[in-house]
Amino acid sequence: MTVFELEARAGGRFPLSGPVLAPPVVDAGPDVGTPRFGVGDRVRVREWHPPGHTRCPRYVRGKAGTVVRVDGIYSVPDIEAHGNARRHEPTYSVRFDAAQLWGDGQRGVRVHVDLWDSYLEPS
């Protein structure tokens, strides 16, 4: 099935999304079966900004938080979106203080973000 078939039927251009900017991932490395972190651990989100698809929000990059839940093992979207390679890793719910994220003095507000194992390092 091609773009041309879709366009022929619709009678016009099909504005498909633009090309992925990141280079294709060929070697994803091995699956990670054992979580590196547990509930209560302090972690820091790695400070890097991938050019392509990621599920790590920019506003937590470089920030420290606490693991509050260990979730299942899932395919890393940063890898899956860029080719046929796959790597599966544990995921976590990590809690951040809003005041530390935004620096605006919000008190008593916490933001929980779900993150893959390789997004995190010990704090």
């Binding site: 099935m1 078939e5 879709l6 039927r9 619709a10 009678g11 016009g12 099909f14 599920r55 929000p57 506003y59 839940r69 979730d71 299942g72 899932y74 395919s75 979207p77 995921t91 719910s93 809690r95 809003a98 935004w102 919000q106 008190r107 008593g108 507000v109 916490r110 933001v111 929980h112 973000v113 779900d114 893959w116």
Partner: protein
């Protein structure tokens, strides 16, 4: 076909694109007879917040069910017969006298279809998805929920993957 008119010239551009998709995918054998009508009926009238209300009511009435719900949302919700797409991994969090929880999908619109149906328009809007993370108290107040200063507000994103869904908070019934 479920469109009100089949003539390409009478359709809007997006309707034409959807019609083209439907024709192509049907030819490829990916759309069984009656599938579109079945899915439409399911999400227009058979799925919705009334399901979630039953889960919450059961948790209010049955403390042991509530414990199971908070420990393993997927299994507890399945006890009442609810499950399926966007409900493979349900996490239930509880609003208390001290904590008010809010769920946001910051990337798309992940939502617990089996217990709440499809998300309302505001949930999918970029302003909600950005502001609820950035300034939850202010946005909650605009939506009619004033959080006392002593409340902690937890803003959570759904867990990863297709299994991704968070169930809305269970609010304990005030004791008479």
């Amino acid at each position: 076909m479920s469109n009100s008119t089949h003539h390409p010239a009478a359709m809007s551009p997006v309707e034409q694109r959807v019609a083209a998709l439907e024709a192509l995918l049907t030819e490829r054998g990916l759309v069984p007879e009656g599938f579109i009508e079945q899915i439409t009926r399911r999400y227009e009238s058979e799925t919705g917040p009334m399901n979630g209300a039953k889960v919450v009511a059961r948790a209010w009435a049955d403390p042991e069910y509530k414990m199971r719900l908070l420990a393993d949302g997927t299994a507890a919700i399945a006890e009442l017969g609810f499950g399926g797409p966007e409900g493979d991994h349900m996490v239930v969090v509880e609003n208390t006298a001290a904590v008010h929880n809010v769920i946001v999908c910051t990337l798309c619109s992940c939502y617990p279809w089996p217990v709440l149906g499809l998300p309302p328009a505001w949930y999918k809007d970029p302003p909600y998805r950005a502001r609820m993370v950035r300034e939850p108290r202010a946005l909650l107040a605009e939506m009619g929920c004033r959080c006392p200063r002593r409340w902690r507000s937890g803003c959570g994103t759904p867990p990863p993957r297709s299994a991704t869904s968070s169930c809305p908070s269970v609010r304990p019934r005030p004791r008479a």
